[in-house]
């Protein structure tokens, strides 16, 4: 499977009437996860988050592609 870079966020059991809603729900939750953390704590949360998500995705070819894009141009 190739890395999906099309909009793909959704929430089972929740009905969204607007295209932007699920993405905005996610983004808000993401920022909320970092509320009141120091920069160091935030970096740790981000690292843990990536590890959890990577394991969930599982497919190393997908992860390699994501890592490649993430590093590009930074």
């Amino acid at each position: 499977m190739a890395l999906n870079t099309q909009p793909n966020l959704h929430e089972p059991g929740k009905r969204h009437f607007r295209a932007f809603s699920s993405g905005d729900d996610f983004y808000e939750a993401l920022i909320e996860t970092h509320r009141e953390l120091t920069d160091e704590q935030s970096a740790m949360v981000n690292a843990r988050l990536i590890l959890l998500l990577a394991n969930h995705i599982g497919d190393l070819s997908v992860l390699r592609e994501a890592m490649h894009i993430a590093r590009e141009g930074v």
């Binding site: 966020l9 009437f17 983004y27």
Partner: protein, 555 residues
């Protein structure tokens, strides 16, 4: 500064209460002739209600205020009979460009879904909107507007509200069976009644400049994150009528607004943004802070709050006037039923419930935009910049860029006025949904579904060939009109003509069938504010009556 608009001056007329030395008594008084008070007054007057509208001023909105009026607002204004002038005068745009630092990262074309009457939004200076509303109001003989009448005191009893009103000729007293408060964000009446409004002030300031462009400039919305000409802040540019462009500069909290406003500070900023060779002239410059807050409830006995007096949002997403006008869309039919003795006053509680829900959605969406545009922490800024960096090449990131979401109406999916589905339907037209528009064919030519519905309860009944409607169904449909709360039946069909006494709408393009998932026999009960109340796969008059009772708190 230049002026592309002549502010009208409305005449003050000595009120009869003063001339005759008596107190006045009106069924409905509305305070505030801003866009929201005007919409409420026009709607009520069109329903045959006598209305008195008071305003402390004698002209329309001054300077830079509302710009973007959304599709749903235009549909409400169509129902009130005044959207056409605004759409003609206003600017419709589709292309938006997003810049991050030096680069354009992407652009989008709104490319609206086909076969809707009104565009996603128009840009129009608020004074034009109000001017058109006042013109419309003046066509209605049972609507009286009193300019330079300032409400200075309000008290309320079980059966009425009493106002003290000040004029150049002295003060007088008015009793109102119902008082609609549309006196804006500072709402003196809210204070007079000792009512609270909760929320937060955003620690941010915006410099708003309206400039007249001397040369051609594209009709596009441009949004900059962290541009070279205004480091670490955001800038928004879009076009209004008369070649006037609105520019919003985010200023941050630690600046001196008076200093920023000075032309010698504003002009270089705009020059570096537009490039030296574009000629422009300043029309208006002001500095704003914004708040996000709402009242706990919008109805308090005989007093009903609408618009900015009830709720305020940050500017991203243009929701102030849009949501206020939608408040009145929700309120007016309910108030009319209550005033006519056809529904209990508890129906007005549902105004508060439904519009508090909508206000929360508006506050949520504009807060999210503000948080994206103005990250509150280092990590939040890193995420924001990561999204912008990925947006150039990756569609998913473009979807996350939030420089303001289009103002769209709420789906009142959880409203107590809805009758839940008992059959399966595809699509979005669930109970509580604002109706989707679609083209229709009538004896008068091509028209729009939303032009044919509204102002009363209606039942849309679908059959492919209207001429094939059997006599029993036709009788059942016609019988719906004979009730204290009448329901007008309308036959929607691909072809044919319904039997006498029933209107037919021809779904020439098939869009109504598609958007509402219609099959032979499908029936939609529609509220006077063009929201779905209930729907069934077959017609059952008894069920329609129960659903009407439910939608009016008569159950």
């Amino acid at each position: 500064m230049l002026s592309t608009f002549q502010y009208p001056k409305f005449e003050y007329i000595r009120p009869p209460e003063i001339a005759e030395g008596r107190e006045g008594h009106y069924p409905v008084v509305i305070v505030g002739a801003g866009p929201v008070g005007l919409a409420a007054a026009i709607d009520l007057a069109r329903q045959g209600q006598r209305v008195l509208l008071l305003d402390n001023d004698d002209t329309v909105s001054i300077g830079s205020r509302g710009v973007c009026y959304a599709k749903r607002t235009l549909e409400v204004l169509d129902r009130l009979g005044c959207a056409e002038e605004m759409v003609q005068k206003g600017v419709s745009w589709n292309v938006g460009r997003t810049f991050f630092r030096e680069e354009e990262v992407f652009n989008f074309n709104l490319c609206p879904e086909p076969d809707h009457h009104r565009p996603g939004m128009i840009n129009l200076q608020q004074y034009y909107l109000e001017d058109d509303l006042i013109k419309r109001a003046r066509q209605l003989p049972n609507l009286e507007i009193r300019f330079r009448n300032t409400v200075i005191g309000v008290t309320q009893r079980d059966d009425c509200a009493t106002l003290r009103v000040e004029t150049a000729d002295g003060a007088y007293t008015l009793h109102a069976d119902w008082l609609i408060v549309a006196d804006g964000a500072r709402s003196p009446i809210r204070t007079m009644l000792g009512l609270d409004i909760d929320g937060k002030i955003f620690m941010d300031r915006f410099l708003i400049a309206d400039v007249v462009m001397k040369a051609d400039f594209p009709t596009e919305r441009w949004f900059w994150f962290d541009p070279p000409f205004h480091r670490n802040q955001s800038v928004l540019l879009h076009r209004q009528a008369d070649n006037v462009f609105r520019i919003d500069f985010q200023l941050g909290w630690n600046v001196d607004p008076e200093e920023e406003k000075k032309p010698e500070n504003v002009i270089p900023r705009i020059k570096s943004m537009l490039g030296d060779d574009r000629e422009f002239e300043l029309e208006w410059v002001s500095v704003y802070t914004f708040q996000c807050r709402r009242m706990n409830r919008f109805n308090h006995g005989r007093v009903l709050f609408v618009g900015d007096s009830a709720h305020q949002v940050s500017p991203f997403g243009a929701r102030g006037a849009n949501s206020g006008i939608q408040d009145t869309d929700n309120l007016v039919w309910k108030l009319k039923l209550v005033m006519d003795g056809k529904a209990p006053a508890t129906l007005l509680d549902t105004y508060s419930e439904e519009r508090c829900y909508a206000a929360d959605e508006n506050i949520m969406n504009s807060t999210r935009s503000t948080d994206f545009i103005t990250p509150k922490s280092a990590v939040s800024k890193t995420f924001r910049n990561a999204v912008l960096g990925l947006a150039e090449n990756h569609a998913f990131a473009r979807a996350l860029v939030n420089s303001g979401r289009l103002s769209v109406p709420s789906f009142l999916a959880d409203s107590s006025l809805n009758t839940a589905d008992s059959e399966v339907f595809a699509g979005n037209m669930i109970p509580g949904a604002p109706l989707d528009d679609a083209p229709i064919q009538t004896t008068e030519g091509t028209q729009w579904l939303l032009g044919a519905v509204g102002n009363r309860f209606q039942l849309l009944h679908y059959i492919p060939d209207a001429s094939a409607l059997d006599a029993a169904t036709a009788r059942a449909l016609r019988s719906l009109i004979d009730a204290p709360i009448a329901v007008e039946a309308i036959v929607v069909a691909e072809r044919g003509t319904a039997p006498a006494g029933l209107a037919t709408l021809i779904d020439a393009k098939g869009r109504v069938r598609e958007r509402y998932d219609l099959r032979e026999g499908t029936s939609y009960l529609v509220r006077p504010d063009q929201h779905v109340a209930a729907r069934w796969r077959t017609l059952d008059v008894a069920q329609v009556r129960v659903a009407v009772a439910r939608a009016t708190c008569n159950a």
